[in-house]
Every structure is written in C-alpha cells, then in structure tokens.
Amino acid sequence: MQAYLDQLIQGGAFAGMPREVVYAIGMLLAAFIVLSAFVAPLAGVTSWLERRVWARMQSRVGPNRVGPQGILQWLADGIKNLLKEDIIPTAADKKLFSLAPYIVFMGFLCAFVVIPFGGHLIVADLNIGILYILAVTSLVVVGILMAGWASNNKWSLLGGMRSAAQIISYEIPAGVSVLMIVFLAGTLSMQGIIKGQGWAPWDWYLFHNPFTFAGFFLYFTAALAEGNRTPFDIPEAESELVAGYVTEYSGMRFLFFFFAEWGNLYVIGAVATTLFLGGWQVPPLAIFENSPMLLAVAQFVTFFLKAYLWVFVAMWIRATLPRVRVDQLMSLCWKYMVPLSFICLLGTVAFMFVPADGQRITSAAMFGLGVAITIIFFLRVGFQIRQAKPELYFKPHI
C-alpha cells in the first residue's frame, strides 16, 4: 500500500500535502473499507448464515423475513440492539464493564491487518504477521476476563474464568501448529507463507508431511477452542452459565462480543487457509496473465471460499456436537494436544532433513490419504442422510 501511495504522491495527486497526512488518510481509508465493507457485513452475514444452516440441520426454517432469504437479518438485529437500553448493573465495576467490549473488539479487528485477501490485497504484510495474529488474539483474553470480573455476577465470573483458562491453554497447541509451518516456510509473513505453497493441493503445507496433516487438525481444534465455539463453548454455555461472561451485558455492548465471535470465525478460517491450504494461490492460467484485475478477483474468491469453508465446518460442528466439561477440556489440551503438537513440531523439523524427492513422494502420498479421508467422510455423511427419515406431517418449507 505504501508503494501505491508513493506512486500517487509522485504523480502529484496530493500536491501540497505532507507525506504523513497522505499516508494517514490512506491508512484510515483502507482500515475503514476493511471494517465497513468486509468485516462488519461478514460478521453479520455469518451470524445469519449460522442461524440458517443450523435451522436446516434441525429441520427448522430459520430467519427468512428481512430481505431475500432473510439475509439482512443481521442489520435488523444490529438496529434492534442499537435501540436497546444499555444496562450497567449497580454492583458492577462500571469502568471496566464498559471498557471490556472495546478491548475484545479491538483485539479481533486488529487481526485483519495481516489477513490477506489476495496476492496484493493485504492491508499490511508485516514481516512478523502470524506472530502478530497470535499476539492480538491473546489480548482478547484480557477483555473477557475484564468482562467476567467487572460484571460482579457469579455466572459472568465463572464464564470469564473458564474462557480465560481455555483460551490460554489452547494457545499452546495453536502456537505450536503455527510454528510447524513457520519452520517450513522460513518466514512469519502471511504472504511469505502463502508464497511458499503452490496452487495444487499437493503443494500445500497440509499435505507436506504426516505431521503437518495432524497439525492442521490440531490447529483447527485449538482455534475453535480459542474462539469459544462448540464443542468448546463452555464460557457461555447457556444451559450451565446462563450466558457466561456476557450475562450482564445488553444492547450494543452485548452485540460487540458476538460481533467479535462471528468475525473471529472467519479469522480462524483465514489463518488455517494461509498456513495449510495454499492461501490465495490460483492455477497459472493464461487468462490471468494479461488481466491483473481478473487475477486479483480469482485470488480473492479462492481465498474467501477456502476460508469460509472452515466457517461452515465450524457451524456444522456446532450443530452436531454437545459440549465438553471444563476438566475434560483442560485435560484434552494438556494431556493430548500439547504433547501431540510438540511431537508434530519435532517431526516436522526432522522431516525437513528428508531430501526433496522424498518430500515430494510424501506430499503425493499424503494428498492421496487426504482424498481418501474426504471420500470416506462424504460416504459416511451420505449414509447418514439416506438414513435420516423424511418428515411425516411436518414439512419445513423453503
């Protein structure tokens, strides 16, 4: 982006303006576009889509009134929450109570600085990109703990504690899985990691070796836990803790927590795509050669679809699984995932000594395995769908 702005300045587009001002305006504009044209609609549509997908899986209809197929439901929800009375309990610590949504939202939004949208579409390709994502997402813990404690409500406190314990614990397997890829890529920059892979699935780090293959699932599981998603949604387990750390929140403040949660789903998908699934890499077709615009669109679509696939998977998981208990959650992390992730890390590092030919054969074999697993999975899903009986009287329309 800096290069582009420099070009404009050189071209005399902003005559008489100091360079810093141009930069600041450019950055603000970029951030604003990302927030209002991508993040906000994305989080909103994700919330709607989750309800729709969920409803279909449960043979219900789901929100379908506002806009075509109810796609504008999120706007209606937003306006509703905007008009809701903002209640801060008298017993609460008012300062921290009102500060918490800011921190949670800020931590979530900052991740979008380094999330690539395409080959050149990225706000800032930091040379420490992936580490930066780990750092800002860890800030969310502080916000959640703050919300839980400041509410002065027992359910909130329990929820905040659970959430903090869970997020910090799962940060280890997530961090180590990321580390695996950093070893392979030799860079922390998001674009650098993507460039280290190819468009073809067998060039993805996912299929690089058995350890990264396992690492992907470790990462995805840990990310679900960090995002407080089912089956790890114990911090806001509505059947146990009423609403967990957001029990006392209402209106807009409440909304921001969930804004962050739904938006965070995309961050999970995007990071997984960047690290393991080849990011925005598209096949080097002839039509892309002479049309950079088309290339950018293709890259954007590729990346978005790959990332959103995992958002969908997260929804699917949420509709399917019950939730685990706190101690089960913690022992899953510390007794299984942490040791496993370290084994995978050392395995990946050791694998780097394998000569290039061997690596290529392994990738091909892993790709075959991945295809086989996918086929088996879909056969299984098909079996379940065929077994599922149609409704007798009750037919959900649409």
């Binding site: 300062k95 040379n127 800030l139 813990v141």
Partner: protein
C-alpha cells in the same frame, strides 16, 4: 519538533499516566489493567525503535500471558480492601522515587552511545536477525533459559502443592 516527536510525547505521556495508575490505583484489578495498557504502550515504543519482533513478543508474553496470570491470582485471592495505607510511607516513597529519577537521568544520558541512531537495515529487528544473534552469540543463554523456565515450573508446582 516533528511528527515522530509528537507521537513519542503522546506515547510517553500515556505510558507515564498508566504507570502511575499501576502504582496508585486502590483497586488491584484496575492496577493490573493499567499495567496491561502500559505494556501495550511499551510494545508500541519498541516498534518505533525498530524492534517489531520484540514488540510483538512483548504483547504475546507480557500482555497475553503474564498479565492473565496476574489477573487469575488477583481473582483467586481477591485482595480488594485488604491493604492498609500509611501516609508516612507515601511521602517517603515519593521522595525516593524523585531522588532515583533525578539520579538515573544524568547517569543514563551521560553514556557515550551515539546520539543519532545508526540507520537501520530493512531486516534489523526482524525475526531472522534475532535468530542469528540467538544462535551465534547467545546459544548458551538460550539453553540456560530453558533450564530457568524448567526450574520455574518445578518451583511453581512445588509451591502450589499443598492444596487443601
């Protein structure tokens, strides 16, 4: 005074205010939150000093990990309202602080480091440079650090052992 200096003074002012909050807040949780803010600001200062890697690790390790532990322990012990304040101590402390600051400033600013920074290369402060240093000059401390951390775990486990 140019833009960079204005930025620095804003950051420095915020940092001093939040540091004062850490020390003078009555509520421990507020203190901890002020410390989070202070650490965050220090991380930003690191960035302005061409140390992005250290800055991000500062957030990751300090704000994301150490402060969470602090918050846990605060909520564990709930020490609100436990503390007794003594006015005498306050006067003494403030005096000591002023004296120390007065003594430190000349010592620090009298060093013979070049006042104008060496122009940094593109890679300076990046992970690669850091790793090169870590693997060449600081191998032994690197390994010893792991032993230090191991000792810390063992110590914590031993200390926390006597749970009811």
């Amino acid at each position: 005074m140019n833009g960079a200096q204005v930025g620095f003074f804003i950051l420095a002012g915020l940092l001093i205010v939040s540091s004062l909050w850490v020390v003078f807040q009555r509520n421990v949780v507020h203190s901890a939150m002020a410390l989070v803010a202070a650490l965050f600001l220090v991380a930003i200062l690191f960035l302005t000093l061409n140390a992005p890697m250290v800055g991000v690790l500062q957030i990751l390790v300090y704000a994301g990990a150490i402060m969470v532990l602090f918050l846990f322990v605060i909520m564990f012990l709930n020490p609100i309202g436990l503390e007794q304040r003594r006015r005498l101590w306050w006067g003494f402390g403030a005096l000591a602080g002023l004296l120390l600051a007065g003594a430190l400033v000349p010592v620090l600013t009298n060093g013979d480091a070049p006042r104008d920074p060496v122009v940094a290369t593109e890679l300076f402060g990046g992970p690669e440079e850091l790793a090169r240093s870590l693997f060449t000059d600081f191998v032994l401390p690197f390994e010893i650090a792991s032993i230090l951390l191991l000792v810390a775990i063992v110590g914590a486990v031993v200390l926390a052992k006597r749970e009811p």
